[in-house]
Amino acid sequence: MNTIIKISLASLVFLTFFMPAVSFAADIFFETTKDTFDQHEPFLVRVLLDTKNVPINAIEGTVIFPSSFLELEEIREGDSSINFWIERPESKEDGEIHFSGITAGGITGEKRLIFSALFRTKGTGTSSFSFRSVALLKNDGLGTKITTKEIPLDFSISKNMSDIDVKDFAVTDTVPPEEFSPFIAEDPALFEGKHFLVFSAKDKGVGIDHYEVRESFFGIGGRYLRAESPYLIRDQSLKKNIYVKAVDREGNAKIVKIKTQNKLALLEQWFILGIILCVCIFVVKKIRSKFFR
């Protein structure tokens, strides 16, 4: 009996003096303007990061929300501190928003925005937002994982009916996306080694909605087609100009042109000029026959 007490005491002393203190290097948390909402009330939840002065360059995780209490209306990542999304925040599973991305050089700060989500309440009661499997990696060139404190957020929905509309949370954005630089590349692993295009634009307002790509000779012809990066270039000879259009969620667009990589051969140039000339002659003849008959 004495031995057991001695061992227990020794263990207690050891744990008290020698066990290292658990310290959380970074916090991930939610922020709303209030924690009690009316029924059918829309509200914005911001997913934020406090890096505790440790630069973090990669993040992944899942936000869990109660789908029985909330309807997800929209996810916004226009003003996110994340530079490039590996997996754009998206709700593929009911009650879950998964995300992963990187920021070159790392993020440091007390309230860095990862993304925000617009919800509308349904039903009444109490529930919470939480995180699952959040990984934060240090900007140290090794991908060192940082201990993370995942802070949930409780909220309640009252029986009162809300008269606030989702439109009240609409962001007015007339500014087109930022300038961006697409690249043409090739790699044996992608598209069987064919030329492809990569692009990524930022829109500080409502965020990027989609991209469109157009390939054309001399800027004539060709039409914009919806595209995702990486995009397989149709004209593998790279003799056409390529236009990449980034469109934000309000329809504002920024177009960036990549000049032709390989010049047309002289014969090809003459051929195209010949076609243009023929078309012009045809049009002129048509006009003359119509008006000077």
């Binding site: 070159a104 007390e110 925005l113 140290d140 991908g143 930022e178 961006f180 690249f183 992608l190």
Partner: protein, 455 residues
Amino acid sequence: MGFFSKKHHLKIIKKSFFFLRKSFPVILGLVFFTFASANFSSTNFELENPVTVIEGGQSSSSSFQYFSNTGQLTNGQSTSTNFAQNAGFLYFPTASSPAVSATPGSGQVVLTWTPAVGILANITSYEVGISTVSGGTFTYTAVGNVLTSTRTSLSNGTTYFFKVRSFAAGILLSESAQVSATPTAGSGTGVTWGGGGGGGGGVGVGVTGSDTTTTDTGVVFSGRAYPLSKVSILKDGQIALSTIAGPDSNFTGTLGGLSSGEYTFSVYGEDKNGIRSTPFTFQIFITSGVTTKISGIFIAPTIAVDKSEVKKGDNIVIFGQSTPTSDIVISVNSEQEFFENALSDASGVYLHTFDTSVLELGKHSTKSKALLHNGEISTFGEAVGFIVGTKNVSADNTKKNLKCDANTDNRCNLVDFSIAAFWYKKKDPPAKVDFNNDGIVNLIDFSIMAFYWTG
């Protein structure tokens, strides 16, 4: 017959024994608590037969800040997960100088700055200095351990100069370069900074008041790189601007056409050998219609070694480039960290010969930082590795050896990101995208990529 009688001998022995018995604790103390250390020398001085004596009591706090003289039985650094102690002779804590941005408003200027990185110290507070004269006498105000401060009650149309200095437990460690801003009526008024701190959190960010100025929304960068070096500025991970530093290593660059919002800027330089510096990265909220100035960007020195493996006892040459005529502190990482000093020449080049006798066999690394005579201090740059072994192997410094260059174009950018993203969580990826060689492309590989990102 002897000089003393046998009885007298016995008396002396007894007295000696008594003396020894009485002085034993003192001798024991001297044996255990006093010990000699290796000589310290340089071209200017030599400290012979130094002795370290234990003194002082126990000190502790929740975060462990301790500036005093203490000792232990061997020289060198003791570490744990919570603190590090450097025993032996006094080590002097330093910190990098913050880079400061100034955004003018009506009757106010919003200042944000990068964290000062303490070396042998944790930064505990900052002070903001203000002056109406360039380089003039600054009046400092303590603002606590924050990374942003708004100076109000300023006169519109007057140019103000600001400095930020960092402290560790009340000890001044570093000071920024000055940054100027001119408050203007109607410029960027009503910008709501939610969340406070953290370099401009940005809750509810938006221009809520009138914004009548027609000034282009942009940023003016200024700082120090290397003489005549190429300086690249990345905006949200993509190259937005390149400029060339002057012979004095100073550079400026202006980026216009920005929107109102949170931006991540990275600035890096390329030395005369094409070696890229560690990027200087910071986040800042850009206000619509206002030109924000970011001053005091001090790019860390580049570094290289002449041998990838050095025979123990032989010299290894550590060299690189920084600002001209600056003090270079070189850290050689080992079981004990060694701090060496060098001076960069008029072209910013520095070179230091390090004797590896003091290093144990195995892997080591070295890094450097620059100190200017005006008090500005850079952060430590990227560490370069070498092995202390049994033979000498020359280092191939012509290789750029970017860890994340999947398409071998000597850049780490969106193309490499796309190639790696193709293999994300897929089986049997090629080695060129599995940067940590663990057989899978996951978040760790993307973190490595983000560290080496060149845009």
